[in-house]
Structures are given as structure tokens and as C-alpha cells.
């Protein structure tokens, strides 16, 4: 059963991975980090990514058409993808069986990263992290 560190190290094995973290989007706390961070400060990056995740989770515009289903207190959004000239960011919400607001954040180099693969793998990791 993987813990936070194993999960993050697995994420770092994805092609193009530069850095990964587990973040609480209510407080902006980085619960675990590995590799590099976009602005050289994992804690600051976590707080900024948390703001983005919170907006996506809370705003109805990003909920599925049939309505914002927060069953179990978990957001209806699965993941967020941000791209820029040289990198991708994938933020994947982690669905837990206790009250939480956690997501995985993976930072990928654009030239050597595979966004589709990263997105699928991150989803699997998010599940294994809490289900075992």
C-alpha cells in the first residue's frame, strides 16, 4: 500500500516529470512534495495551486451538466490541466472516505512530457493513495 512519498515518487517516474506534491486546497498546505517546484518554493506553489483548485471545485461552471454532485463531500471536478510554453500542470482531486480537500499536483516538462499518459496515471495514483 503506497503512502504519500511512494505516490509522489511514482508520479516522478512519468516522462517529463519535474515535480509533484499533495496539497490541501482549503488551507493551501503542502502535505508532501518531491522534485522541483515551479517557482522554487513548494509551499508558495502549493498555496497558489490550492487557490486554482478551490475555484474549480466550488464554481458551478465546472461541474457536470447534470449538476454539482458533492456526494461524500467531494468535488464534482476530477482534474485540472494548465499548459504554458514550456510545461504542463495536472491537478487531480483525491476522493477520500473522510472529510478532506486534497489534490495531487504534477508539473511536467512540455517537450518530454506526455499529458494524456500523465493524466490517466495520476488518476490511478490518486485512487491507490487512499484505497490501497
Amino acid at each position: 500500500m503506497p503512502g504519500i512519498d511512494e505516490c509522489l515518487l511514482e508520479a516522478m517516474r512519468l516522462p517529463g516529470a519535474r515535480g509533484a506534491s499533495v496539497v490541501d486546497w482549503t488551507s493551501g498546505l503542502a502535505l508532501g512534495t518531491v522534485g522541483d517546484s515551479p517557482n522554487g518554493d513548494h509551499e508558495a506553489s502549493a498555496a497558489e495551486a490550492a487557490e486554482l483548485a478551490r475555484l474549480a471545485a466550488e464554481h458551478k461552471a465546472f461541474a457536470p451538466e447534470e449538476g454539482a454532485d458533492w456526494s461524500g463531500g467531494q468535488p464534482p471536478v476530477e482534474d485540472l490541466i494548465v499548459s504554458n510554453r514550456d510545461s504542463y500542470h495536472v491537478l487531480r482531486f483525491v476522493r477520500t472516505t473522510f472529510d478532506s480537500s486534497v489534490f495531487l499536483h504534477l508539473w511536467l516538462g512540455r517537450s518530454d512530457g506526455n499529458l494524456a499518459l500523465a493524466r490517466i496515471r495520476l488518476g490511478e495514483m490518486a485512487e491507490r493513495l487512499v484505497v490501497g
Binding site: 500500500m1 503506497p2 504519500i4 482549503t26 502535505l31 509551499e43 463531500g73 478532506s100 486534497v102 490501497g132
Partner: protein, 321 residues
């Protein structure tokens, strides 16, 4: 290093939660924590200084034991924080059992089987009751959460008992530095949302202001628990939600003028006084400055009694402009 003179410190004896398992503690206490005067002074600016100089010393000497303050306890192993508890936020047991991550019988079985060896956390994972990641996420969240309250301003003096360990056992130790930084960052975050800390500890009331239909679900869940009696801590306990998360949502609700702290001096209210106060529409407050002014105005109107609390709220709101 493990023995110091046992000094009785003001306001400590019997207050707060004692260590969960003090059987192997040496019972020494090594002094007061002089931070609070300084913390209060800094509070007005919204960025208070370091929360506990004593904690820094304990980290330096790689101490093992439990730090007890008025609003919570921090367990250290070799200078790192391994666990924290506070009456202001639900413990790991509540967080794990209230949504069914773990049955309460499963929790108690783990405590009875592995509590004596102080490895309850490990037992939960090894026996297949909980994924390692789930335990780490929940425990780490609870640790930072309880530490936020334990190291909070006005938490009074501290004492440290060497050698005391918690029965949850090692899960994911964090540095004292990280805990202090996070505590300060959280205070600043709350201050940015809404500068009045009144709603953090008071009984909460609805102001009567119309609730936006698109209130985020987690805020809505908190609002549903506001009944004029419960505090933010009570609500956290009912929802099985980390205390700081509730504080964030309550401050957002306070900033929106939907929830306010019950004024203690008001006494029993007449039915008339309970009616919705006349509040101007915030729609005109286009700029951030305007929005703050509107909040300040609402802070005045949310309460019928102009008293010290109200004046302080107004001052805080104006200072935040």
C-alpha cells in the same frame, strides 16, 4: 536533560488535555513560553511573529515529549512533531469514523490491540483497515490543524514533559519549522478572508441576510449547522471536518455578511430584533476597496448593540482597507 525542576506554572494545572499516555513521562516542566505578549502586539498588523520560542528550543535539542498549552498539545520525537491534539478540532478518531473511512469498532480494536505498544497508526494500515496514504493524509491534516489551535494567539504559557509518547505512534513526522510556518501562514490566510477573528470562537448566528443560491457546497454544509448555539469548533465536530477548514468557511460566510458572532452582551433578543437587518446591496461595491467598505458597513449593521466587540470589528475592517 530529562530532569528539570518541577515548577507549577500559572493557569496550567489540570487545564486542557493532558497527554494521552503519561505512564513513561518524567513529569518535568522547564519553563514558560514568553511569546504571547509579543504575539498579541503583532496581531493587529495581521502578521504575528513566531508562535512559540520554546518549541524552537525543543527542536534544537531534539527533545522527545509533549508540549502542553492551553488550547492543545504537541508531541515531539527527537525534535520533530509527530502528533498534535486540540479540543478546538476533531481528533483522528472522529475524522476517520464520522464518514465511514473506518468503523468505530475498527478504531477501538486498533487502540486496544496496538495502543500499549504505541503503534495504532501502523496497526490500522498493517491490518488492512486503512490505506497508508489515507492514514497519512488524515493524520497530517489533523496534526497541522491541532497545531494551529495549540500555537494560537492567547494560548497561554507552555510546559514540556520529557519522554511522553502518544499511542498513535509514528505516522509522518514534520519539522517544528514547518509547523510554525504553516501556523503563521494560516493566520494570515484567515485575516485576508475577513479580518475579524470574532467568529472563530463565538457562538454563531445567521444575520438574516439572503443566502446566495450558488454558495459553495462545503460552505453550505457549515451554514446548515449555524443555529445560534454552536461555535465553529462544535460544527467541526458535528461534521467530522478539520477545525481550520470550518474557520475558513465561517470567515467566508462572515465576509459575505451571512454569519456573525453572537454578541454576548446582547442578552435574550426580542422576536423583532431577530428579524433580518436592513443591509445595503453589495452589488455596487465594484472595487476591492469598495467591497471592504461595504463589509465594514455590514459589520456595523449585523449587530444591534454598539459595544466594544463591534467597535473592534469595525477597526479591524478599516485597518484592512
Amino acid at each position: 536533560m530529562t530532569t528539570t525542576e518541577a515548577r507549577s506554572l500559572p493557569g496550567l494545572d489540570g487545564s486542557g488535555r493532558g497527554p494521552a499516555n503519561g505512564a513513561d513521562g518524567t513529569g518535568g516542566s522547564d519553563g514558560t513560553d514568553g511569546a504571547d505578549g509579543a504575539v498579541r502586539k503583532g496581531e493587529r498588523a495581521g502578521v504575528p511573529p513566531v508562535s512559540s520560542p520554546m518549541l524552537g528550543r525543543l527542536a534544537e535539542e531534539r527533545a522527545t515529549g509533549v508540549l502542553t498549552r492551553e488550547r492543545g498539545v504537541l508531541y515531539l520525537v527527537e525534535g520533530q512533531v509527530v502528533h498534535a491534539e486540540s479540543p478546538a478540532t476533531p481528533g483522528l478518531d472522529v475524522l476517520l469514523t464520522s464518514r465511514g473511512a473506518l468503523g468505530s469498532e475498527g478504531w477501538w480494536e486498533a487502540v486496544s490491540q496496538a495502543g500499549a505498544e504505541r503503534r495504532v497508526g501502523r496497526f490500522l494500515v498493517d491490518s488492512g483497515r486503512l490505506a497508508a496514504g489515507a492514514l497519512e493524509l488524515c493524520h497530517l491534516g489533523a496534526l497541522y490543524d491541532a497545531a494551529f489551535f495549540a500555537l494560537g494567539t492567547g494560548s497561554g504559557p507552555a510546559r514540556f514533559r520529557y519522554g511522553v509518547a502518544h499511542w498513535i505512534g509514528p505516522v509522518r513526522p514534520v519539522t517544528v519549522d514547518a509547523v510554525e510556518r504553516e501556523t503563521l501562514r494560516r493566520r494570515a490566510l484567515l485575516h485576508r478572508i475577513w479580518p475579524d477573528p470574532g467568529t472563530d470562537t463565538a457562538e454563531l448566528v445567521r444575520t438574516g441576510r439572503a443566502v446566495d443560491a450558488v454558495l459553495p457546497p462545503r460552505q453550505r454544509t457549515v451554514l446548515d449547522q449555524v443555529d445560534g448555539v454552536r461555535t465553529a469548533s462544535d460544527i467541526s465536530l458535528v461534521l467530522g471536518r478539520p477545525g481550520f477548514h470550518t474557520l475558513v468557511d465561517v470567515r467566508r460566510l462572515a465576509a459575505a455578511g451571512i454569519v456573525a458572532a453572537r454578541t454576548r452582551t446582547a442578552g435574550p433578543r426580542t422576536p423583532d430584533a431577530d428579524g433580518p437587518p436592513a443591509v445595503p446591496s453589495p452589488a455596487s461595491a465594484a472595487t476591492a476597496r469598495g467591497a471592504h467598505a461595504a463589509r465594514a458597513a455590514r459589520a456595523v449593521q449585523a449587530s444591534a448593540d454598539p459595544d466594544v466587540v463591534l467597535l473592534r470589528r469595525l477597526r479591524d475592517a478599516l485597518e484592512a482597507l
